[in-house]
Symmetry: D2
C-alpha cells in the first residue's frame, strides 16, 4: 500500500489533484450488503465543500460524487467502491503568478524537493481538495458503523484565543463555525471575519467525540486505537497535533487525580478519553487537535522562487480565513474509517 492508502481490512486509496481532472477514492474491503447510494455520500461532501457561508472560501465547488463500482441495486457488493468527483470551477490562472515561487507554510517547497516535479495549480496533491476522497470513504464507513449505532460528532472548540465553554451538540451544524457553544460561536465568527478582512487567517482547535463503541477495539502494541487515530488525524492537512482525553494536561497531574477509577457502573471519569492500553473502553472516544491558520494570505510574505531568489508572494486564490470548521467533517471521516477498520480486525479474531 502506498502513501495515499490506509487501512488493513476497510482500506482506502485516494487520488487526484486540486486542478486535475478529478479527485476520488477507492474503498476496498467494505462489508457487503450495506445499503448505499450517492445521497449518503453527497450529504457529507456538502458539509465539507467551500462556499457554505460567508466565513469560508467563496469558491463554488459543487463536488458531485459519482459511484463507479462496488454498488449494485443500491447495496454494496463487497467489491471495491470507486467514487469520483470531477473538478469544476477551477481557476488555474490564479496560480500562474506563483507557479515558480513557493508559498510559506505550504507543502509546495517540500513536494518539489521530494518529487522534483509538482502540479503547482491550486496546490496540486497537497491541496485540501485531496480530503474529498476521505470524506467519501468516511461517509461509507459511517453508514456501516451506523448498523451498530456509533455516532461521531465533531465541533470547533477554539478559534484564536476564543474557547468554547458549553457543549450543545444540536447547535453545531446550525452555525458556520461548527461550534457547540452558541455564545462563543458568534465571537469566533467575529474573529474569523477580522482575519479575513485583514487578508490574514487564524487557527483553531477541533474536538471529535465518538460514542456507541464497544470495549475491545484497537490492536496493541503499535496499532493501538489512539495511535491509529493519531496517524489518521495528523494526515489531514493543517493539523499539527492531537491529544486524547485530558491530553497535555495529564503532564501536570498526579496519578491519584488522573486515574479514572472503576465502579460497578463503569469508569468514574474519562480522563483517558475512551482508550486504555490502546484499546477502547466503551466510554466515548474523545480527542482534540490544533488546526493551523491557513497559510495562503493576501498579506505579502517573503519567500524564494525556483531559482532560490528572494521574492514577495501574495496568494490570490480563494481561501478560507479559518479552515477549522471545514476540517470537522474530514476528521469525522478519518475517525470513522479507523474505527471501522479496527473493529473489523477485532471481529476477525472471533474464529
Amino acid at each position: 500500500m502506498g502513501g495515499s492508502g490506509m487501512g488493513k481490512l476497510f482500506t482506502i486509496s485516494t487520488f487526484g489533484e486540486s486542478h486535475g481532472r478529478a479527485v476520488g477514492v477507492v474503498i476496498d474491503g467494505c462489508p457487503a450488503r450495506i445499503p448505499l447510494d450517492e445521497r449518503d455520500i453527497q450529504k457529507e461532501l456538502d458539509r465539507r465543500r467551500p462556499g457554505q457561508s460567508e466565513l469560508s472560501s467563496p469558491r463554488s465547488e459543487t463536488d458531485q460524487v459519482e459511484i463507479l463500482s462496488g454498488v449494485f441495486g443500491n447495496m454494496t457488493t463487497g467489491t471495491p467502491i470507486c467514487m469520483l468527483i470531477f473538478n469544476k470551477d477551477m481557476k488555474s490562472a490564479d496560480y500562474e503568478g506563483i507557479r515558480d515561487r513557493f508559498r510559506p507554510g505550504h507543502g509546495d517547497w517540500a513536494y518539489q524537493e521530494k518529487y522534483g516535479i509538482r502540479d503547482y495549480r491550486g496546490g496540486g496533491r497537497s491541496s485540501a481538495r485531496e480530503t474529498i476522497g476521505r470524506v467519501c470513504a468516511g461517509a461509507v464507513a459511517k453508514k456501516v458503523l451506523g448498523k451498530k449505532n456509533v455516532k461521531i460528532i465533531g465541533h470547533v472548540t477554539q478559534v484564536g484565543n476564543i474557547r468554547a465553554v458549553r457543549f450543545d451538540p444540536d447547535f453545531i451544524e446550525k452555525n458556520p463555525v461548527r461550534c457547540a457553544d452558541p455564545e462563543m460561536a458568534e465571537k469566533m465568527a467575529d474573529r474569523i471575519r477580522l482575519a479575513r478582512d485583514n487578508g490574514d487567517s487564524i487557527g483553531g482547535v477541533v474536538e471529535i467525540r465518538a460514542t456507541g463503541l464497544p470495549a475491545g477495539i484497537g490492536e496493541p502494541v503499535f496499532e493501538r486505537l489512539d495511535a491509529e487515530i493519531a496517524r489518521a488525524i495528523l494526515s489531514i492537512p493543517a493539523v499539527k497535533g492531537i491529544e486524547f482525553g485530558i491530553g497535555f494536561r495529564a503532564a501536570e497531574m498526579s496519578g491519584s487525580a488522573h486515574n479514572d477509577e472503576i465502579t460497578r457502573e463503569g469508569f468514574a471519569g474519562n480522563n483517558a478519553g475512551g482508550v486504555l492500553g490502546g484499546i477502547s473502553t466503551g466510554q466515548p472516544l474523545v480527542f482534540r487537535f490544533p488546526v493551523k491558520p491557513t497559510p495562503s494570505l493576501r498579506i505579502p510574505q517573503r519567500t524564494v522562487d525556483e531559482n532560490g531568489d528572494e521574492v514577495e508572494i501574495v496568494t490570490r486564490g480563494r481561501h478560507d480565513p479559518c479552515i477549522a470548521p471545514r476540517v470537522v467533517p474530514v476528521a469525522e471521516a478519518m475517525a470513522a474509517i479507523v474505527l471501522l477498520d479496527l473493529w473489523m480486525q477485532q471481529i476477525a479474531r472471533n474464529f
Copy 2:
C-alpha cells in the same frame, strides 16, 4: 502485519510479556553491511532500564540483549535480526493480590475485554517492558541513520507544572530527569520525590529533536512524516498526545505570524517543526508529547474485580513515580525507526 508490527521496509515485530520468559524484537529489512554488535544495543537498553537512579523504580532489571540472527562477523547481513532479552528479577508474587482486580489507568480491564484472557503478572503485554524491543530496534535504526549523521535527542521539558526554560543538550544525560535545563532539573527531581513519598505519581512532557534530515522524507497523503511519527509515539504506553513545532499554540495564531517565511538561507523560523505537507523540510524535526502519571499507586483506589464487585486496590509493584525520563530513549527509538523506514521509501523512488 499484526498489531505488534510496524514499518514497510525497515520493519519491526515485538513480542514478550513482562513476566514471561523473554521480550524482544525481530527487525526485517535492515540494510546489509552495517557494523553492529550487542554493545550498540546494550548502550540504549541501559538508558531505558529501571534502577538508574533513586528517582526510578528500584527493580534491578539488567536486560542483557542477545542477538540471535541477522548479524555475521559483526555486520548486518540484510536478513532478519532477532534480539532477545530474557526476563529476570521478576517478582510475580507481587501481582497475586491483584490478579483478579483491574488497576485503574492501566490496560488490564481493556485487555481482558478484548482477548477474554490476560497474563496479569506485571501487566503482561501491556507492561512498559514491551518497550525493550522497541529500544533494541531503535538502536539499530540509529546505527543506520548514523551513516548520514542524523542525531535524535530527547529530553524532559515538563514535570507536573514545572517547565524547562533553557536547553543545554550536554546536560540531559547527566541528570536523572533527563532535563536539559540544570536549574529546573533539580526542581523536577524534587517534584518526583514528592510524588514518590506520597505513594503517588506525576506526569510530564518529553520533547524530541532530530537533526541532519534531508528534505523529502514522508509519504503523503496518509504516511506523512508527522502522521507516522504521531502513530509511533502514541503507541508508547502512557503517551496521551503529540504536537509538532509550535503545536497547539498554532490555534491562537494568525497565518502571518505562524507561517515560516523562506529566505535565501532557508526557512526564517520553524513553527512547522520540520515538516510541511507531511514531508521533511530539512529543518530539525521537533515534537513534544505528554506522558501521563504512572497509574500504579500505593495510594488506595477504587476499582472492580473480575466479578464486577467494587474493591480497593493498592499496587505493590516497584513503579516509577514519573515515567517521562525513561520514556525518552523509547521515543528516540520510535523516531529513529520511522525516519529510517520513510527515508528508505524515498530512496526506493530513485529508480
Copy 3:
C-alpha cells in the same frame, strides 16, 4: 490493503465490474518524472481487448483509457495515478437469462457464497474485464522498467495438445494466437476455430520471458521473486498453475542434471528460470502457466439456480473460445508490476 490491491512500493488498486459504469486502477508509488501519456496505456489495452481477430470474442469493446491524476505535463508526479475506462457496448440483457443460475467453471456461485450478493451482469467483478486495470498499471510499470532496458515478452506455447517448438519472437504479435512458432500457430488457430464452431472452448499455456534484469531482485524468504510472480499470475482469471524454468520436469531429474553450473561467463544453463533462492540471477526470468478453457459455452451444461434446483444453462454472451492469447498482455503486465515493485525494494536497501 484490500484484496484488490497489491504491491509494497509500486502499488496498484483495481476496481470495477464488467457491466458497471467503469473499470480502472489507481497506482500509488510510481516514481516521479517518468514520461507518460495515454498512448502508452492505450497501446497495451489494445492488445488486450476483444475483437482483435476472428479467433476472439466479437465484442467491440473500445476501452479508451483516461488518466485522471498523477500526471502533469505528460510526466508522472509521484502522486497516485488513476486511470479509468468507461464501460461501453455492454449487453446486459444477454445475462438476464442466467441471473439466477450459476455458470459452471465460473466464480458466480463462489461470489454469491462469499458476499451474499453479486452483480450478475457479465460476471460482475469476476469478469475478465477486471484485468483492464492491470494492463493499465502494467503499461506504466513497463514504461518505468524501460529506463533500465527490461523487456517482457509473452507468447502462447500450447493450445489443446498442440505445442510450439520454435521461438521467433518477432512473429508473436503477427498472429492472433500470439504463438512464436509460425507453423504451430496455424494449427493452434485451427484448434481454436474447431472449439468455437462446436460452441465449446479450449485451454492453453502461456510463457513469459523477462530479460534485462539485474541480479538481486526478490525479498526472501516469503516475498521471493518467484513467489511474488506466482501470486500475481495465479490472480489472473483462468490461470490454474505456474512453473519456473524447467518447472515440473525438475521432479524427474537428478541434481547433477538439474543444477545450472557456473562458469566464468555466467550460468551454463537456465533450468532455474532466472531465480535462485528467490532472488533474480540476471538470467532471463522464464515461467509458464496453464490457462483453462473458457467456461462460458453454447453447449448446454447442468447447473443449479439460486433455489438450488437443477437447471440447464447455455451462455449466450460473446466469449473467446480460447482466452490464452488475450491473457498474454495481462500476464506481461503482472510481471512488470511485480518486477518493478521488488526492484524498488532492492534500491531502498542502498541506504
Copy 4:
C-alpha cells in the same frame, strides 16, 4: 512487513540462519484462548527434522521448540507468540571448504549479489532450516483450524519418474517417502537410495489436500485463495511451480470436459481443485508442486569462487538425496497459515 513476514491478520515473521544461534518465528494475530503447548509444536517439528529415516540426512537436529511469549496457562492470549529453536549439532567446519565458492543450484551466489554479504555456514538464511519457523507457525494455525475440523494432508506423488497411483492416507506417515501408495512408496525409496549412493539427488512432486473448508475463503482479485497459496508454496526452498486441481492438464481440455457441473448434491467433479474465482467452493482444496533435486552433491560440479575463478565444488554437508518427503510438513504448514489468515479476513466482513 518485510520479506520474511507474511499474512494480514494471522501474521508470521521468521528469523534465523542455519548455523546462527537460533531459528524461530513470531506469530502476531493468533486468536486468543486457543489451547496450546510445546508438544503441539514439537509434533510437527519432529515430522520435519532430518534423521527420521535412512533416506534423509543423517544430521541429528533435535530441534526442541521453546515458546517464549503469547501463551499463558497453556492458552494463547492473543499477543505475539515467539517460538525459538536453538541451533545444535552444527558442523560449520564442513562449510569452510566452500566459504568462498558458490554452490550451483543454491542461493549462495544470488544472496551475495543481493546483500553484498552472506553467512556462508550451512547456507545461512537460504538454508532449509529456515522452514523450522514456518512449521512452528503452521502447527499453531493447524490447532486453530482444528476448531473447525479442517484437515490438511500432504503426500509425495512422484519421485523421479515414479508416480503414485493409489491414495491410502493412512499409509503416508508410515513410510519414509510419505507416499500414499504402498507399492510405489517402495520403488520411490529405491530411487532415492540410488541417488544417495551415487552422491547425487532426485526431484519429486508433493500434493496437498485440505478438507473441511467452507465456501467463501479468498479475497479477489489479488488475494485469491489460489494466488495466496501459490505464493506461500513457491516461497518454500526448492519448489519450482504449482498447479491446482487438474492443473496444467487443463491446457489440453475443452471447456465441456473441464467445467465441473453443479448438481443438487454439489459439484460433479473437482477439476477446479476447490477454488473458483479465487474463492473456496467447499470442495477439497487440492494442489501439487514440483520439488527440485537437492542441489548439494558429492559429485563434483563446476562453479566459480568469489574472485570469479572457475573451480570445482564438492559438497560435504549432510544432505537429503530427495527433499520432497521433508517438504510435506512444511507445505502443510504454509497451507494452514494461508487458510487461517484468509478465513479470518472473511469473518471480519461479518460486521
